[in-house]
């Protein structure tokens, strides 16, 4: 009997504003505890929230990027509960009227298992709403007490809630990655998962095909894609085993332990709070005008899916290429610069280098595109020399390695290393004549039909030119001369 897996995600993205969502306190990460906690962050008596327009602009940009309905009027509500790192005793969030309504994100799924082919899928986004983050409780060295750091309290979050449209860990991870890429792409979140700027809660349930949805358990606060995959795989197997052994799934919130690879319940539904949501009387309803929408629309860069389509149409690139090229705004930017340096007709050359050498080298060094040590200008310069036949492909690889390790521009490296290939047909012809003269027996064999020997002659000629002969030219000349 097979099982179906049903997964939905709630992602908390920290919006990249300089100040908090309801006060002027700084949001810079890593400051000394409580140095970024102003009167509002501490919730002194009498203080009031004032909405940060930058947070609203970022929410609108997200909504537009996923083709969502942007509510002309949305409402901030109070979610009431007591916790020491929640200074007001309530979190200001949005409840029944969120700023971003139904949208969708199309993702490219690469199945984890062996032979399955990559495919495209559209995940519906139920809603996205603005809210403030809580502070942090620190259970460290405080003489048996808990320390409270309110620096993070009031940091703006956009909580993005998906429909339960994903049916494997691979799809969930692909969605999370696409979302992660998108929020960075449109500049609303720095995407730093270590610092908690992008945190995922994953709702998982299983069911027999055709049956209604099973009871879900929510895996909280996953901050890496690897952990997400591990946590889902473990959780799915745990739920299946539980049911197959005659057990029932209880709705619960669980935590993933990366050390054991297991999920464990932290609270069951019986402990669920009654949050007593009601509209926050300190804040007016959030009204979004046509002008605000227009402004946000105008400030959006060309979106990944639009770029993908354009690369395919204009340059004839494959889905594989366009996906990698649009994996981040930096990657796409590098590609665009390279193409403008070497011309559209060489777009495939640019794509090959970016999806090949550049990606591989970044991977080897554990860097992401934003940290790439080679500039668009450097790379474009090198590609230009490939395109105009100054260097061969193997020469280019050496230029690239040098650039990566030591910097410098392509022409200087070519000059210094003598990598310029010989494209002087006279010189190549002379070289070929010498080889034919010195290998009369092999020439005879070739001419009697042993075509495979062609490679032997190419090797000799390349060696003789110290690798600098223009390969295409050499091929032509060799072919002509060998034919006799």
């Amino acid at each position: 009997m097979t099982w179906e897996i049903v997964i939905g995600l709630e992602v908390h993205t920290q919006l990249s504003t300089n100040t908090k969502i309801f006060s002027g306190a700084s949001t810079t990460y890593g400051a000394e505890p409580n140095t970024q906690a102003d009167a509002v962050s501490i919730a002194l008596p009498g203080v009031l929230p004032v909405l940060n327009k930058g947070a609203v602009e970022r929410a609108i940009k997200f909504g537009l990027a996923v083709g969502a309905h942007i509510a002309p009027r949305s409402v901030f509500a109070r979610k009431n509960y007591f916790y020491p790192d929640l200074p007001k005793g309530y979190q200001i969030s949005q409840f029944d009227l969120p700023v971003v309504g139904l949208g969708a994100l199309t993702i490219q799924v690469e199945p984890f298992s062996g032979n399955a082919k990559p495919y495209e899928k559209t995940v519906r986004i139920t809603r996205a709403h603005l809210e403030e983050d809580a502070g942090k409780s620190m259970h460290g060295d405080f003489h048996g007490m808990t320390g409270i750091d309110l620096n993070r309290a009031g940091t703006p979050l956009l909580e993005i809630v998906s429909e339960p449209d994903m049916c494997s860990a691979a799809e969930a991870v692909a969605y999370a990655k696409a979302l992660h890429s998108l929020v960075r792409w449109i500049g609303i979140c720095d995407g730093n998962m270590q610092e908690g700027s992008f945190r995922c809660d994953v709702n998982v349930s299983v069911r027999r095909p055709g049956e209604p949805l099973g009871t879900r358990r929510e895996i909280k606060n996953l901050n890496s894609f690897k952990f997400m995959q591990q946590a889902i795989d473990y959780e799915v197997q745990w739920q299946i085993d539980t049911i197959e052994n005659g057990g029932k799934i209880q709705q619960a919130t669980v935590l993933f332990n990366p050390d054991t690879g297991e999920t464990r319940a932290m609270r069951s539904k019986e402990d669920a709070h009654d949050y007593r949501y009601f509209p926050d009387p300190d804040l007016l309803p959030l009204e979004i005008t046509a002008a605000m929408l227009e402004q946000a629309r105008a400030s959006l860069p060309e979106l990944p899916h639009v770029k993908r389509a354009r690369y395919a149409n204009e340059f004839g690139l494959s889905a594989y290429d366009t996906n990698i090229l649009t994996s981040s705004l930096e990657m796409a930017g590098l590609f665009d610069s390279c193409v403008s340096a070497v011309g559209q007709s060489n777009a495939k050359l640019c794509a090959n280098w970016l999806t090949g050498e550049v990606s591989a080298q970044l991977n080897r060094d554990g860097l992401d595109m934003a940290q790439c040590p080679i500039s668009a200008q450097q790379l474009g310069g090198m590609l230009q020399r490939i395109a105009d036949n100054t260097i061969s492909n193997s020469g280019a690889k050496e230029v690239f390695r040098t650039m990566w390790a030591e910097g410098g521009d392509a022409d200087a490296i070519i000059e210094a290393k003598g990598l310029k290939q010989v494209s002087d047909s006279g010189a190549i012809e002379a070289l070929v004549d010498e080889i034919i003269a010195a290998n009369a027996d092999k020439v005879a064999e070739y001419r009697s039909g042993k075509d495979k020997l062609f490679g032997f002659f190419v090797g000799l000629a390349m060696k003789a030119s110290k690798g600098k002969a223009n390969p295409a030219q050499l091929n032509d000349i060799l072919k002509k001369k060998l034919a006799g």
């Binding site: 002194l44 203080v47 009431n80 009387p281 007016l284």
Partner: protein, 490 residues
């Protein structure tokens, strides 16, 4: 000096007939003498008050004095004032010295006014008799066996007893107007959003509004000029042009009847069962006086106003239950000395730090917001709130101002209603609808009832009609002298 208007005091200060230090000291001496019997003030800080007075004198000497520079005002202890103990009448904040100024406080400071001290109030402004204060009840200066009203009872008593030139109050369901009525002074609750709530400790955010309490409408107008105005730190503060609230105060139709053309609406619901006879009589005489001043009277109806007390006691506690969550013993204020764990710390700190009335309202508010009850209570109350506001909109098609009693009775005896919260809640029956609608309302003295206790006339205006209301009140105060009567023995 004690009976001078704010305008006269300002003029005397600027003419250097008296210094701000002398005037401040005069009040501090009176406070030292009379406050022990009245308990109108929670916190006094003569050093800080006199330092402000010296600054004011320097400003006057430099010729940079404004209308209120150098005048000593008392501030309700609901306003955070930098360096001042700010308790909100609660044990919960018994040790809270505010590190910042409320908007209202900084407006007075900027005007060069002197802060004489923080006045007593019902705990977190929840009460109508000032008996819920952790710092003891305030006595009515007209009869110290009686309550001053609440929640701005300390302010009302201080103004009536001439223990300050004038003072601030806040009004969530009548907390300026009812104590003003019971202590025989004038008080104005402005249109919601006219005075910033920044730094004013929240009770029910959608109803709370600060306003002036003084001995005359003229004084109220000068204070409004300082208190009102847009403040970007309060999202519900209204972005309007600065206005001069005294601009119409002397407006008068020529030919002897200054208020000719004014249409006064009398809601039949305000003169029905539950209104004490002595109050009704004083209010009716006031209406008769207004007719003499040229006004006409229209009978109107506010059919939904009978629901305002129940609606208020759903909405205000709902907001309060959330607003008071920050008082948890974690960061400031009262924390229980002993507890076993986090939940115990919360429970004990809040059980010991809050008084009975505050706890009652937190429980009501928590209940009405709870899952399964929200629609039946909170949402239903919000709907009725809109109907109550619509009643006023309809009424103002027929009249310019609405008048009636401020409170159904004069000041009652201390302890008289302590056991019956509903009886206590009904003392705000005529004032609450005004907060629910967000309208401006005021109370001015209009005579005395049984036991010689003051009676207040309530004047309710349309939105932003404060200047007209002040004119209507001032014309009455020119024709009568109820507002200038002072309690004996002080």
């Amino acid at each position: 000096m004690l009976n001078s208007s704010l305008q006269q005091l300002g003029a005397a200060l600027r003419a250097k007939n008296i210094s701000s230090v002398e005037l401040t000291q005069l009040y501090l001496d009176r406070i030292a003498q009379h406050n022990p019997g009245l308990n109108a003030y929670i916190t006094l800080n003569p050093e800080m008050s006199l330092a402000q007075a010296r600054e004011a004198d320097a400003r006057i000497a430099a010729g940079k004095a404004g209308a209120l520079t150098g005048i000593p005002f008392a501030q309700k202890d609901i306003f955070c004032a930098k360096g001042w103990l700010t308790t909100c009448g609660s044990k919960m904040l018994h040790n809270f010295v505010s590190p910042y100024d409320a908007h209202v406080i900084s407006q007075f400071n900027d005007a060069g006014a002197v802060n004489l001290g923080k006045t007593n109030m019902d705990e977190f402004a929840m009460g109508s008799s000032n008996e819920t204060s952790y710092y003891g009840t305030v006595k009515n200066p007209w009869d110290t066996a009686r309550v001053p009203g609440g929640s701005s009872g300390g302010t009302a008593a201080a103004v009536a007893a001439r223990l300050c030139a004038a003072a601030t109050g806040t009004d969530t369901g009548g907390s300026i107007r009812q104590p003003a009525a019971l202590c025989g002074i004038s008080g104005l609750k402005p249109t919601y959003g006219v005075v910033s709530r920044y730094g004013m400790i929240a009770f029910a955010s959608s109803l709370d509004q600060a306003g002036p309490m003084a001995r005359s409408a003229e004084d109220l107008a000068l204070m409004m000029n300082v208190m009102a105005g847009f403040d970007e730190r309060d999202s519900t503060s209204l972005q309007r042009d600065k206005e001069d609230y005294a601009r119409e105060i002397n407006k008068s139709v020529s030919g002897g009847k200054p208020l000719t053309g004014l249409r006064i609406g009398l809601p039949k619901e305000f003169f029905a069962e539950g209104l004490d006879g002595d109050v009704a009589k004083a209010v009716e005489s006031a209406i008769a006086e207004y007719r003499k001043l040229g006004a006409s009277v229209v009978d109107i109806s506010l059919p939904n106003s009978r629901l305002s007390v129940p609606v208020y006691y759903v909405l205000a506690p709902a907001e309060a239950s959330s607003n008071l969550s920050r008082f948890d013993g974690v960061r400031y204020g009262y924390r229980a000395p002993e507890y076993s764990d986090l939940a115990d710390m919360y429970e004990k700190s809040r059980a010991q730090g809050f008084g009975a009335e505050v706890k009652r309202r937190i429980m009501i508010g928590t209940y009405v917001l709870s899952h399964g009850y929200y629609d039946a209570y909170y949402l239903q109350a919000q709907k009725i709130r809109r109907l109550i506001a619509q009643d006023f909109t309809e009424a103002y098609k027929q009249c310019d101002v609405i008048m009636g009693p401020t409170s159904p009775s004069t000041a009652f005896k201390l302890g008289e209603k302590g056991d019956d919260p509903v009886q206590m809640y009904l003392s705000d029956i005529y004032t609450i609808a005004v907060n629910l609608a967000g309208l401006p309302g005021m109370s001015i003295p209009c005579g005395f009832g049984a036991n010689n206790m003051p009676v207040g006339l309530q004047i309710i205006g349309n939105y932003f009609d404060e200047a007209r209301m002040l004119n209507v009140a001032h014309q009455y105060q020119l024709a009568t002298d109820w507002h200038s009567r002072a309690p004996q023995g002080l």
